[in-house]
Symmetry: D3
Subunit: 316 residues, 6 copies
């Protein structure tokens, strides 16, 4: 299996004044990844989902939506310098007779491929795919001299025990075992996780910032998340779209109420991405087949990428 070539990016507007991501994203190859401010990496796999599947279609749908999004942020100006590496070779695992058995294989494949991106000094934006991919996306950062933290925007803690094999519910337990130093979960929902996992996370040095706290100040909460990772040299940012309220992101495996708004999420992503310690980003659990007819979850995921990139732009 090999990487899939990126699609030809093009805009959807006929007005020459309009600059959309479709106009500025450049297909590229791994050798040149370091020449860009950020590189997209598709991961069309959802074999590890406990619940409703569909996230394998995320990369293609998010790219289509992003192509029509304009590049202008009112405070940061136009976003530029973004390339696309195409998809990692994980598609085939979805159709295996027994995909559950292949989760660990996929995580290993992804870790290898992600390592190649980080080695070029590139900042990857992974387009999942399910949340099991996080293990592959973050693993290459661990084990070196730098301490590593993750800011996870998620309604859940995803710290289940992988004793019976990894799933989309086990990534952070796996990563703590592999050397992750800190985890800050932003947007966690009451009554959607179990006491055992909340206890585990707190004992592991994790920080939980609930959706309630986001509601009292998204920028402040983002700052607190970064503060909680003050001792980390490098930070990875993960977005599970179910951190959004059910009304805004029905296209997730298990949407729930009491979540954050798209406006709050976009604001937090931009803020977090402005921290120069941030070296990678992912969007996971966006399942187009489960979305509303108007594609609102996919549309939000595409704009989440744009806002993250605006934050990266602000570092200059």
């Amino acid at each position: 299996m090999s990487r899939t070539d990126p699609p030809a990016w093009e805009g959807t507007s006929s007005d020459p004044n309009d600059e959309q991501f479709g106009h500025v994203i450049t297909p590229t190859e791994i050798e040149d990844a370091g020449d860009f401010r950020a590189v997209l990496v598709g991961e069309p796999y959802d074999g590890a989902v406990i619940g409703r599947r569909g996230a394998r279609e995320g990369p293609a749908a998010i790219r289509r939506a992003l192509a029509g999004v304009k590049t202008h942020h009112f405070d940061e100006g136009p976003v530029a310098g973004v390339a696309d590496l195409g998809d990692l070779p994980v598609e085939a695992y979805n159709d295996a007779d027994d995909p559950e058995n292949h989760v660990a294989d996929v995580q290993a494949v992804v870790a290898d491929e992600a390592a190649a991106v980080y080695e070029r000094g590139a900042l990857p934006v992974f387009l999942g795919g399910d949340n099991s991919l996080t293990v592959g996306n973050v693993t290459p950062l661990l084990g070196g001299d730098d301490s590593v933290g993750v800011v996870s925007f998620d309604a859940h803690l995803d710290c289940r025990d992988p004793a019976d094999g990894p799933t989309s519910g086990t990534p952070y337990r796996q990563l703590f075992d592999a050397g992750l130093d800190r985890l800050a979960v932003v947007g966690a929902r009451h009554f959607e996780t179990s006491t055992a996992y909340a206890d585990f996370l707190r004992d592991s040095g994790g920080t939980i910032l609930t959706a309630d706290e986001v509601g009292r100040g998204p920028v402040e909460t983002a700052d607190f998340a970064l503060d909680a990772l003050a001792a980390c040299d490098r930070v990875f940012v993960s977005l599970d779209v179910d951190v959004l309220d059910q009304t805004a992101a029905p296209g997730a495996s298990a949407p729930t109420p009491g979540g954050v708004t798209t406006r709050e999420l976009f604001s937090m992503l931009r803020r977090v991405a402005a921290d120069p310690r941030v070296v990678g980003f992912e969007v996971v659990e966006c399942a187009p087949p489960l979305d509303d007819e108007d594609g609102r979850t996919v549309g939000a995921a595409a704009r989440a990428v744009a806002h993250f990139l605006a934050g990266v732009t602000s570092r200059d």
Copy 2:
């Protein structure tokens, strides 16, 4: 007619670390109601609705959703000590030839049954059913030495004149006539009630806290609602799901925009329930047949119960 037995509660997760309400809710009987922190009481009746019906299916659907909700609140820890008394014998009234004529009968039946619960010192959580049931749920609290107030989370005031018979729009006028001392309506919407009823409520010592005020601070608004009932010895809390914004609760008789978010509602319920004067709670007007395919209104109603119980837990 007689009470219906509670269903066998069971969880939906196969992870032994997961504790869901389905694992901890105990079927019980009225004699033992006082042994629990709170008891569920179903009221599957919607014969008094002006508008779209469907709330009769609320108790079953809310129970199903609640069974899969986890018991952990990040601040209060796991909720426990909840039992289920099954449904009150009101189902048959729905199918009467002329249900409108039976509203008063239903209110009387419910009042008798609710009295039995209060007499055991239990804290009932009524799962409606339509808003006419409030009369039965609150009546047993009136007429004693204690002054009584209601905090009503509702887009409307429900103070219509019951001259032509009680409906889901008349409960608080009926209750004021029966001795209710104070009413604080939280989340009331401009342009969804009439001047005559706003005047009536203000003249009756009621307090109106609009959805706008909730938006400026849900916890503060909950505190103000309790302050407005400072002179009351006992407080009942009512949740009409149409207090939620139309995007969050389409499964109500008449959903409208400009409402509160699920996040705000959950926060307010927990806060109010922490007040030791609170002796009962109800969820009404949740109509599963009118809900979105994803069951978001029912899901929000079930979690509203969970957050109320978290508040009760915090009293310990």
Copy 3:
């Protein structure tokens, strides 16, 4: 072509205590327009839309929804003194073989008709229709001694170049050319407009208040918008329903996430309308055929009119 007669307005409630807009709106004729606090003017045209059409059905649908909305605002009391002038003669342009060619004609027709309303000293509430109608609605205010500003609630800037003919994306560029002094856009969304237009607007003395800023304080943002027009003698207020978040207003041509809530919008409209310099209002881009089954976009548009009128009432 000639104006269409207004419909017979009637309420939907049978409770004599209920006062709805259907009970108090009076059909009238242009000669008597000045006798009312505000007059409705329908503009059933959507030939200039770039994207999904349907706004031509806005006037009829908003009127139907408004008929059932109650007149009571908790702070301002009942709204009264509203009349309906019926629809302007623009319906026929929708069905032309090549509607795009008729946009300028429609703008001219509308400007003539709108001038007649302003001349009577009446305050028009235009029910569109698409955003190209703004040119007709505002043009009569320009060219006199008074300086004129617009507060535009819109996700977009609508400052495209009309070189290839006017569209629903060009109105403010056209109006600046015609003498508009100031524009404050409230609720603008990052990544939904192009750098070229943001630059144009800022160079033209425009002010951009993003949806983020609304989220930090809707009333404060409304005040800032009015402050930005401090030098203007007369102010027109425009509402493109796509300023609302996609969850609240799916019935727009291009709904997007990250928008304002209905609660915020209603609050801002009331605030802005209280300014005595405000001389006109419009609701555009509300497309009933694109709306959710529950008609939430239309319902929000009707209540937006109600809240604007509450602000006008508060001037007394």
Copy 4:
């Protein structure tokens, strides 16, 4: 004894563009009091103070400070239409051998004089003087058909039992006995009042809004105070300067920390004064001899009057 003539008001600025209260306040007599928007009434008495005296010098000092304050409020424009009736004949009671015995006499004298002001339809602004004067200032409003409430900005509840004679700590207990319907205390401080009085006030239908609540939103708190008096036809507003934080108002009998800021107070006064039910205002407990050298307490008291008047102006 008789009223004292008002001083000749004059401004302190030599710039003809400057309009100060000293330029616009008109000395007048009781017969003409109804011709103005508001009338100042001095009450130089502090014989009822428990603690440090000095408030008898309040009227003269506040007038001197106010003379130099400009009349412009950025939102309401210039304040106008204010007159001065001079001082009530209470000065002599201060120097009595045993002033404590004369408190009731002073209250009676003041009530007679205040009644004359209200009878002319004038809106009095009483410049105290100590808090015992409140009894005289409010008494004329009681006993008629109108229900009456007071919004009291005070760190304390002032509900002591007047069994041993009235003092500056007894006014609201006296007024409840005389028929006062409602009291909302804004800015009350924890640990500065006794449980017995908090219980008394809550049992009497009073509402307590702490300084903490002011800190979370002064305008919202002012609205809640007015809401708490929704059933009242007429409202009197009282300002005891010790509601301010000790840093801002050292010139009070017993300044304490944890209080409200001048900015918050000014904002609340303007908001409350905009309510058309408000028929009178007083500033009490401002003691110039206890003030800082820079006269900050007196300066704040004078500006409090200005902000109250801005609110009255906004009713037009």
Copy 5:
């Protein structure tokens, strides 16, 4: 040297309805310390201060002020169950020829004495004295099975290197060396500490919450501080009065602007004290000789104790 007997506590009010701390605080001895909810422990020592001295007079002055403070908190009701153990035997060290040399001795004496309090299961409220005393106050908690954290309300980090002997600037560096697990500094001021110490603290797992963050939400900030200590079993709370803004607490060694208000501080202390993990509290650096004439710093310190006790009361 031996402990000093506590003073006879008495109130200052003659109204029998008034309950002040002077009425309810009981002198006691170490043997009975565990019978109370909290016990006061005076520490009249300021030999370690770098800068202006005077804190040795803190215990006596804070006790005098507290005696006149009423016991009522509007939300928690009256505070009770407080005793006074008198002063620790440290007074003599102030007058030594070379007090600097005795700091370590004082810390050792205090640690012994404090250990005796903790051993009785009592909750000590230490009244300092300077910040070097913190070492003695916290040391007995370290070295056991429980992990220990401190919430330090302070403008500074107090993490200087004690190489040249301990001072009031070294306590947390000393405590980290002795086994302290976590430190959260609340109210830290920009430009009042050095980069080297900020780096040290972050590397040691400390959390810094600036005064800016307090300003955006004191309760939220208190929650974040507790979250940052989520892994700790026991928590000590320290208040250096210079965390307050210079306007509110001039009676500190080095008061600075940009600080927190008394209202914010009181709110945070109550919130933090409600956490059942909190086992001790201290007030340090309150120097009566440096205070304003009106004693505002001492008054704030006394009320800080009251608010802390209200939080402890709320645990019941």
Copy 6:
């Protein structure tokens, strides 16, 4: 007359870990001004003050205070790269027989000297002196191709007519006459300016953001001020210390209540200074002889400089 040499800067701490501004500020000469991130320029003149004088002593006192301020900002890290050019030759004008006649002369001298600084591409931080100096400080920026705006933190508008000669109350009217394009006044106080000047400023395209607005969100208000200058190429920032509340800055000519806190001011200065269009800064009206004994106004002014420099640092 000639420039005064800068003082020898030195720190006040003996801890080698402490880095204070006294350690890092470098005396320099005009030729080398462009080699630094910012250069201090003293302006010891107060001959134009209407009211209490003393600001001539500002430069020396602010420098002394700044020398002891540490260089660390928790978010931006240590500030560096600052030099001192000494004082401009204006001291002698203070002692003239009739200083009022020399204001225009001083403004001309200052303009010449300031021009020399701007020409080197340096960013000046002017330490006044009174507010008449603003004319000299800003004049060199006018008249070129760049449009110029000022953000003025001031309780007043300072737009008096200079017909009778310039004063500390006329600078912005003078600057508008000289070509200033925009002015945003932040922290303006109600009742401290006259209607005539508010009207003048609004007609001149100025924006007024009151202290109330600052209280609702200092960072947001700073953003709005910058938005109001969106059309400007270069921005100058002016701080009149009387924008601070009277409690925080008694050392101003005419301190008043209702102002902004030091915390808010510091936050806003850092935010504004981060805008790359900002080319200069001044602190005026800080009068040490009028300050409290504890030097709080001077201390706040010195830290205001530090926070401004932190914002400049953040541009890198």
